[in-house]
Symmetry: C3
């Protein structure tokens, strides 16, 4: 198994007759599939009635896959309780923030805080663990699926209060102070008076809402850990994180510490290069949540893209499956797994993309899948190697949660786009970025970006100050350092805690109406946000032009200690962001992964502990690119002597014999 | 009464003082009104308290109308239970899919599956039937009004389970298989666990949702039949179908078999020619639901149009009332009825258009109404004649329901627009189309169109194959033959069951983002949808140009047996659709109703059993049209010898002495 | 205190430590703050548990403020019940029209009709009244905050029935007739069957909905009066009206009669001149609700503007705070108060604008606040003087409520925009307008405008007829006189009751699709609405051109008695509205406040009983304006002899020595 990428997908033989199983065996061999994820959502097949188990089909599946050389990722089915469960325990159905109950008939129809649900989940998990813990096919336990389903019921209220008592050391006055309950007469006289942030008459209390988001991430994590602890043994245990996480809003830093390996589901949100950057964003986050170690791509759709808001899919461009799959690999994934092996004939996701589509194996999709399997089979030597990044982007679950609340000066300013835009600028600069937390050792990064770090605790501010004083280049985005960890405002000017480092002080916010822009000197523009900024030592790199902020600083730089604090008080247009990022990299001595590569060529590298390295090259342009390069190209199996020609849309993977350089 | 079109409208004397009744008598005579629909929504006037009946006003109304020469369509008032009913039976109020109860204070505030409601409906219906079954004024029973109100309460759950037990022969395993419940762990262990498709956490089960739509159509039909059976006797019984049916989504084929005559309500959705096509669409469906026999236009608005989504009305253009009314007649209606005679002074619909507006009889509206009455009085000889169509468009309630569910590759692709666009192309070709089901005898049609027949059962596929083999021209639109009657996918390529007939095989869907287009050869474009199509014998009529499908077939033709299968893998632009339709008609030898007529002239024809026929001509253009024509023009009462001049906006009705031809 | 404008804002020392109080004292003196509103929303600080009061902090606050020369507006905190109240009385939480309960965790989480709430509100109010009724700091009682929270629960149903019994003299048949319950079978057989207009299956009964709106305004007014009566004594009592009142839809004419002084909250909805007109609209309404006497601006935001729909704020332009504040004053306010003194650190409104922002006193905002304080301190002589208007705009709560209901021909036609557009045209003409009711003495106005007076009772019609017959110029806007006070249509043509006065008769409505226009003669256009109008004596000032109304009258004038009735059957474009308004003013002899002033200069005037007057001049243009003027300019303290130069954005306040005239 070592030195082979995990390749395959979710596999649901229980939905098919035995004839199809035979065909599966044949087609899996044809496509070089070596991994199958089994059992996700199969609760009613495993436990058709309370306490009654049917393992026959699962026994046969695992044996058959094992005989066919396919490893199994075995899932607990707890993300979809069967109707018999709901029928017996209606109190374990989820309740919306508006107070109405959701019913069974889909998946995720459970309240994770309901005792009956937790007991039932543990029972089925134990049964699976006992029966298959030693099965040789099983290579990984996969708990549940994409945790995240919200609930606001009474069970949740009880659990929330328990969590709050722990967080506030049983000190109700402390909670009242943190939640600023003197505002709008919300002082709690008893723990029992506290509710989840259910729909209320007007604006919610942001501190209550933020604590609830933290609590729910933790409560789900506790539910995960209960299952994990029942399964731990011979093989590692994980659960799949859904990225991008509009659906699931969890604190993945905390979750990353509790899984044996981070595994992500990633569904592309755009065709073209925007989709390529989306792959990078997901992969860089996955690697970072896994603390830099190789991680697993647990689900992708081999054939489809979800642009916009889930109302439709578009077909993946020919060739894209290979390119994207190798991009995940180049950014640290040791697997290329898909949802799903075979397109289901029925059910809610009957139109979900699959490795074997409804039209069968004689299709472009299956041919691309097979070609991908063959390609991966030639890259096994790369498995286990890692990615090295010299710059980091802060990722802060608290800031994200806080900026979702309807209490900020502009509901159009959110955390995720701010981070994505910054990450995209770094991508365009040809540099690989990690994500990091303030608690991490930032000193190993030459540059740290902090886009819209709205929530900044004193401890986080201290860490960033230390980083700059130690020589780091810190680039802070607008609307940062506004509130502390209780969502109470920093007083005396923003970004709170960083005034000295940045040499600036924001007096007042000037949100910009969507669709409008604010002009900066030298023809640049900003969007969505601007700030009335006063320099206290910082150098002005760009100023506002026209409007109420005319002539005031917009982008600044401030040497501090051995490092530099940069501040950007608006969301700059792409060229401006690109210029700034390159200027910072120059100041920090950060070079692109392949210096001198044409802009349309993406270069990524994995490094083995023994000094070997592999250079991944992707030509996203419409013209061929010619590289001065020497090494062994693994996809063609040919040596590259002096130069490599990469056709549009092509990928090359070079085992490097010496450090690569472009003249 | 024979040989007179039914002309009049809904009449609510209970809302007015006796002085107004006298004026009504005068004005009805003035406008040549001969029909009044009485009693719709009058429950609380008929039965002011449970079991207490007040027939006095109704006795007087029927006697008075009868004396005035006005026939009565007598309605049961069950579409709006009185407050006393709701107050006594809150469990009979409707419940939304989200689980909240709706209250009285409007109309339709009942659950049709609630036993208390059904009993109350039968009681008031019986009382009406007993009292007025033999009243000479009564010419038609009108049950309820526009059935369709949804409910998801416990009574509905019980009825749904009963319906499912019947459909699946008490075989729960069969239901589980049909519903594909192994997906997402939805296996039902007991009938009691099954629910209506109430709001759930994520995507619904499409098979459950489709069965619920079928069930609800049937449940309402059962409620209708209960009343019908109590009323049947001297005069026929019907209920009014609301077309277009965004509000009511019933299987009108099944309903059409249970009414003595199909009666529709039709509210225009657009001004201009688009509205004219909307009239044709409603009328052609009404005639088809009534198996080709003359039908009744039960409600229209004499003065207003509802463009868009019900947020406003616009005034009907002068002259439009006459044109549209004669268009319904030309397409087979034996009535021109309106909601309503007199504009109500108060209530939710106080601004609804009426034959006598608030401003009174000295208004353009009432003058147009009177002119219409006079015109109709000269056309009586046409009553009872029928329309002959040589082409058919398939109308499939299942496909429509299925494409409403949020589980398809694009929520922008719906059934209704696909059918409407095809029907409009046939209209522009000057050809009258029936709608048909696969169960019907299709061999009598030279051409059958199947736009987006997403759901195609094996039996339906077999019928279409037989049709082509027997010599028919079958034109199949994109996204057809995707699932079977259980909403499980056809395997091996689409359109399932029609691969041999069409000589093509769809491997993969390529949905198109709304607002974007996909280019076809010869400058044509497609919208919303495209497909990766492989020809297996078919001739390519148009290919995709550019994009991932470049050079692949888009529109194809395939001789099969004695007929031809045509396939269109996108939604073509209007000129392309028009060219294709004309090409198919040429191949099938189908001619327009009036060959050679200018495009802005609509020609329609009714045929009597005795060989007489009447040609209706409408000039929708802005210039006069000159026709070579001979016959007797009924509106002017003049003979047409050799040629007819039709001014813009004008209508002519020709009693033909010999087959009409244009040189 | 006399002869000083009240200047200051909401003050919440309970949210801050004592150190901050000391700073508050210093900064208030610096900014010349003389007024603080204390206690709004402080219930849980005043009564931390049921019946347990903590007055310590409030005692200290009042004493401290008094010592610092700051008067106190003392609020009852009843707009936000504490969690202990909700926990004990969940039945007193508000319930939506959909039937779901809203929870605590915000403000306004109460049902004003719940007995438990009313009792609790009276208890805390009594306690405050007893303790502070004689405190010398207290200058005004401020009951509650921005009444308006809706509820549809059982308590509300009970109160609604009680109100209806009173309105209809216990005559259920009268209610049934007024509500037109014969339509859709809504006849009520018992008072108990009547419900609030909760969500129902289809369109609501408009008469029920309108009576509910009236009832709820009255029910909240009763709740207010209960508190007022407990507090009345040494100092006046008021509550703050929220204007514009999208949030609160109350009948402010009735409320204005029950407060000792009208106090409004006004949050600007647009930057630029549109915002200036918004100030005028709020201020003119406030003055009118207060029957012309000086009123109080109770809340504004010193730094922010809410454009659009509450999704974001933008920063107020530099200088705008002064201009707007003096505009409120020029239109009759004797105060310039803000929400709030100091920006809260936490809670839902932590980003709400404040006089002391988070960034502290060293900010543009606080500098502008201090400058404003200084400016106001020089204008004390103006306090108590009044505004004189010669034209009036009718403001009718009934018409507004009625046009919010979804039963009209176009949901795009609402009352508020119709009134705002008319008011803006009068503003552009340089004329100050009052708002008035038909019950008021209209004869003191030279012109009365009635924009879209949809609901017109016979009594109102009679008043308007009398006004014209007595010599008034009455300008009636389209869609007026359509229904009476029961929302039953006027019969025989619209505007009902005004046919003779206007010499026209509307036969039919022709709503216009938003975004489209209808052409009028001489190049003018109308929007949203047009009408099929017949003249019966009126002169046509403009006719429709093209379309179905081609050549028909659009704008008319009709001499009647000693006056004239003008009618405008569409919403005209701005230039057309402006021309019409000027023409009417000419006919009525109404002159602008400063005849001959350049259009970009706004001129307003306050008059003292002793004959003194003050002219306020605002230059909203981008160029300086030069005035022939003589008087004493109060802001600079300089005499103006013959001419005044006003820079762009500048304000002047002239104590006039003789009537001002421009040559």
């Amino acid at each position: 198994m070592t030195h082979a990428f995990w390749f395959g997908g979710d596999y649901n033989p229980e939905q098919w007759p035995p004839e199809t199983w035979d065909e599966d065996d044949v087609l899996m061999r044809e496509a070089r599939v070596n991994t199958a994820t089994v059992g996700v959502f199969a609760w009613s097949s495993i436990e058709p009635a309370e306490g009654v188990f049917d393992f026959d089909w699962l026994d046969r599946t695992l044996d058959r896959l094992h005989a066919n050389g396919v490893r199994v990722i075995l899932a607990t089915p707890t993300a979809s309780p069967p109707p018999w469960f709901t029928f017996a325990h209606p109190d374990a159905l989820p309740v919306t923030s508006g107070g109405t109950r959701r019913w069974h008939g889909s998946r995720d129809t459970y309240c994770a805080a309901a005792p009956a649900y937790r007991e039932a989940a543990k029972r089925v998990t134990s049964a699976l663990g006992e029966r298959y813990g030693d099965h040789p096919a099983v290579a990984l336990w996969h708990v549940h699926n994409e945790y995240g389903t919200p609930c606001y019921c009474g069970h949740v209220a009880t659990a929330f209060r328990r969590w709050l008592r722990a967080r506030y050391d049983d000190d109700l006055a402390g909670l009242n102070e943190a939640w600023y309950t003197k505002f709008w007469s919300q002082n709690y006289g008893d723990w029992e008076q506290i509710l989840p942030p259910r729909d209320t008459q007007y604006l919610p209390n942001p501190a209550q809402a933020l604590d609830f988001a933290r609590f729910w991430s933790d409560e789900l994590l506790t539910a995960y850990r209960e299952q994990r602890d029942l399964l731990r043994g011979r093989v590692p245990v994980t659960t799949n994180f859904m990225l991008p996480d509009s659906y699931q809003m969890l604190d993945f830093w905390r979750w990353g510490a509790e899984v044996d390996v981070v595994a992500i589901d990633h569904y592309l949100n755009a065709p073209g290069v925007a989709g390529t950057i989306d792959v990078a964003f997901a992969a860089d986050r996955a690697r970072s949540f896994n603390r830099g170690r190789p991680w697993l791509l647990m689900e992708q759709a081999v054939g489809t893209i979800w642009p916009g808001h889930g109302e439709m899919v578009v077909a993946k461009e020919p060739g894209r499956l290979l390119r994207d799959s190798l991009a995940y690999v180049a950014r640290g994934s040791d697997s290329v797994l898909a949802f799903q092996w075979r397109a289901g004939r029925g059910g809610s996701e009957l139109h979900h993309s699959a490795m074997v589509p409804h039209a069968g194996a004689d299709t472009r999709v299956f041919r691309e899948v097979s070609a991908l399997g063959e390609t991966l089979s030639g890259l096994g030597e790369i498995v286990g190697s890692t990615v090295r990044a010299h710059v980091a982007i802060l990722w802060d679950a608290d800031s994200r949660w806080a900026l979702e609340l309807p209490v900020t000066p502009s509901r159009h300013v959110k955390y995720m786009p701010a981070v994505r835009e910054l990450h995209a600028a770094v991508w365009r600069a040809g540099v690989t970025a990690d994500f990091a937390r303030y608690e991490d050792d930032l000193s190993r990064y030459a540059v740290v970006f902090a886009p819209s770090l709205y929530l900044l605790s004193p401890a986080a501010a201290e860490s960033l100050v230390r980083y700059v004083e130690g020589g780091g280049q810190l680039v802070v985005g607008c609307f940062s350092g506004v509130v502390d960890e209780r969502q109470q405002a920093w007083l005396g000017g923003f970004p709170g805690g960083l005034l000295d480092v940045l040499g600036v002080r924001v007096e007042e916010f000037h949100p910009v109406v969507p669709g409008q822009t604010v002009a900066l000197s030298s023809g640049a523009t900003g969007r969505l946000w601007s700030e009335d900024l006063v320099c206290h030592g910082a150098e002005v790199l760009a100023a506002y032009e026209g409007g109420p902020l005319d002539g005031k600083p917009a982008i600044t730089r401030h040497p501090h200690g051995a490092g530099t604090g940069w501040y950007v008080s608006t969301y700059p247009d792409e060229p401006t962001a690109d210029r700034l990022v390159r200027r910072v990299f120059e100041a920090a001595g950060v070079e692109p992964e392949l210096p001198g590569a044409p802009t349309q060529v993406e270069a990524l590298r994995r490094h083995a502990a023994d000094g070997r390295s592999w250079l991944f090259l992707f030509n996203h342009g419409s013209a061929a690119a010619l590289f001065p390069l020497t090494g062994h190209e693994l996809l063609t199996g040919r040596s590259v002597e002096g130069s490599l020609r990469l056709a549009p849309g092509d990928v090359a993977v070079i085992r490097e014999t010496r450090p690569t350089e472009v003249n």
